[in-house]
Symmetry: none
């Protein structure tokens, strides 16, 4: 299998000033092309580190992709280091990139400085893919087998994300042209309502029987539950797609309605699709989740087609006055109770005229209220067939509890809309 290492060059990543998002995009594109990334490295703008690291990565990988370190400012020393590594100290002008530099600066209304034109100078013998998005070209260094014991190629790309990602397809094309790549297939299942360990126990017999070339990963997340990812590395002769589909179908039989999506997705997106299909609408009444449910729902483009609005009723007076929760219910049952959650849901539905309403009332912090412990929430859904409520208790910090409360409420809503739970 063709392997790659992705190296980012630049102090700003190592001091934690910026998060490297390029490598993730590069790895995904490489994987889809059939190249396995088995290392990512971030190093500083220091010649010694650059030389040592790139030598080591080229020795152990077919392809090395670097990003960053190619800007016109003083702290960028990558290009001279690459020239040294390639054994080609002579710098030559690349006409295609020089023309690109002039076009780009002209279009931005900028003067062309000497430092800009220097960007078109590259080590003799390297190939150039002109950069359509910036002044630093992509340099391709093809090392002969004699150098590292196998043919190795280094692609030096700029680090500015829109330049890196903009030029990525051309780099992938070049990799495809020069390597015989085997396909890789991935499939995801999104599962809500089972902890990672419980999920693992439930599917152990299936997982234990997986063929050796298939690999299952568990990716847990407070807001989206657990994402299960099944990967298979194909050979040139057989397509992995049908084999992976058979395994996924078997897994779906085991997990049933716990699965809420088959691609990478969020509960609020799934709910949006369900409501749009059914031409139904939604509102929310939030106490302890404080607007997070409304926020999640409205991050989905087009949410205004089905989401009418919500009331965050932090104060008791707002619960009574705006949502119409009876004062007697609050007095007798307490604010954190099934009755109040249900009355809030009914109140939001009545106020907005929506098909469905979801409500939360609970204690997001770690302190209890004398009756309920911290982390307790009552979630309720009111809909055409009546009202449903459930209690949950979580023991995370405040922000994490709010996320869990919100995701639980959205999952209850999803199951109510689907009819797998009834009032």
């Amino acid at each position: 299998m063709t392997t790659a290492s992705i190296c980012t060059i630049g102090d700003e990543i190592l001091i934690g000033q910026i998060v490297d998002t390029n490598s993730s995009h590069l790895a995904r594109a490489l994987g889809e092309a059939g190249v396995r990334t088995d290392r990512m490295v971030s190093i500083a703008d220091r010649e010694e580190d650059i030389l040592t690291t790139l030598e080591a990565e080229l020795r152990t990988h077919d392809i090395v992709l670097t990003t960053g370190g190619l800007g016109p400012t003083k702290d960028d020393i990558t290009k001279p280091a690459l020239a040294k590594l390639f054994g080609s100290p002579e710098m030559v002008k690349n006409e295609a990139q020089e023309a690109m530099v002039r076009t780009i600066l002209h279009s931005r209304g900028l003067d062309i400085l000497e430092s800009n034109l220097m960007q078109a100078m590259v080590p003799a013998g390297c190939e150039v893919i002109p950069n359509r998005f910036g002044t630093a070209p992509i340099m391709v260094f093809r090392f002969p087998e004699s150098r590292f014991g196998h043919p190795a190629t280094l692609y030096a790309m700029p680090g500015v994300p829109h330049e890196t990602l903009g030029m990525l397809p051309e780099v992938i094309d070049d990799i495809r042209t020069h390597n015989a790549l085997a396909p890789i297939a991935h499939r995801n299942l999104m599962v809500y309502g089972l902890a990672e360990s419980a999920l693992a126990a439930l599917i152990a017999p299936w997982e234990d029987a997986l063929p050796a070339d298939m690999h299952l990963a568990y990716l847990p997340n407070t807001l989206t539950g657990v994402k299960l990812r099944l990967s298979v590395y194909g050979s040139a002769e057989t397509s992995p797609e049908s084999r992976i589909s058979a395994q996924i179908e078997a897994l779906k039989k085991i997990l049933g309605p716990r699965i809420y999506a088959e691609q990478e997705d969020r509960l609020e997106a799934v709910i949006g699709r369900l409501l749009r299909e059914r031409e139904e609408t939604l509102s929310a009444a939030e106490s302890c989740t404080g607007g997070e449910i409304a926020h999640l729902l409205t991050t989905i483009p087009g949410a205004s087609d089905y989401f009418l609005g919500s009331v965050t009723s932090y104060a008791v007076s707002v619960k009574e006055k705006v949502l119409g929760v009876p004062a007697a219910t609050i007095r007798e049952k307490g604010v954190v109770s099934a009755d109040v959650a249900e009355a809030m849901a009914r109140g939001a539905r009545q106020l907005t005229g929506s098909t469905w309403a979801v409500a939360t009332t609970g204690l997001a912090g770690s302190e209890g209220d004398g009756v309920n412990e911290g982390g307790t929430v009552w979630i309720a859904v009111d809909g055409p067939a009546g009202t449903v409520s459930e209690k949950r208790v979580y023991h995370n910090d405040r922000e994490r509890n709010i996320e869990r409360f919100s995701a639980s409420a959205l999952d209850l809503l999803r199951r109510c809309i689907l009819g797998t739970i009834h009032a």
Copy 2:
């Protein structure tokens, strides 16, 4: 100088499924403690890669921090690899972590499985920092000088971000205890309402005159504005504190009320303190921000002391019926207008009886409505002295625009409460 390498372990990063954000946080915390991170590496869940990489990193660094690979499921093989690396195949039970596992699972109402208890088994001879946020302990491996030519320490941390970040202070404390770190002083100023480039131009004369051992970093963030961090690397003899204070005072004179906090802080926390001091209350009416403002306000513990509630009025009918925005205003001025934003703020204040109300109405997506371009928002604040509104236009994606809209509204509210802006 004490140096560190940060290693993430897990296929999900190498296939580009998730972006590694932990390493950035770790590097920043290490830097603030006086440790220089000069490498970050991501490797797969493969024993050979783990052993080769950690050996190499320990040989060239004083400290190696790993994250990930410690979950209870089958794809995690880090712990056996660490045992091999440490030359300590025997696994022993760590009582403190086992108690933690039981507490955590019990509090979540989950059954305790064998795989959960296995989390408390660690290689003999390693030290344990019990993980308060999850079931996998932090393992500390102290290698003698004879092993790598210098004393080297490996901290193996879980990879779930809230666990990694939650336990980071204790790891940093341990690093401080076991290393003589040169003092580094940092001071932050939180600035809202100036783009990074405009801010840089404004403070250029001050920045250019900084002594050589002081370094200014710009850390822009959609929700918090720009954090300016001034760092000085002290020697053992002189305290850098007084020198850095003098520079910060000079900078404060230049920036004035653009500075909203002097420590790392969020607008919603600053607003919470202002309201509590004044014994005043707040409500919100949100259209395009869809609950994000209420969510931000209620992430602050004790927000119920001053935040009464909010209405997310996504549908026009909710704006009219719940918030009392006159239908004529919407018809004549349009939903995205100063008049509607102001009427929403007044409506929320009246509905809840709060001292202040903040409102937003705009277009979070990139598409315009024929009158306003995408990314346009009107923000309004209603208070004891009347109503203020301002227009902003941003050109980000939907989620980023929602964040910017919310932060702008909170900053307008902050300035109204402080009286630096008047109705």
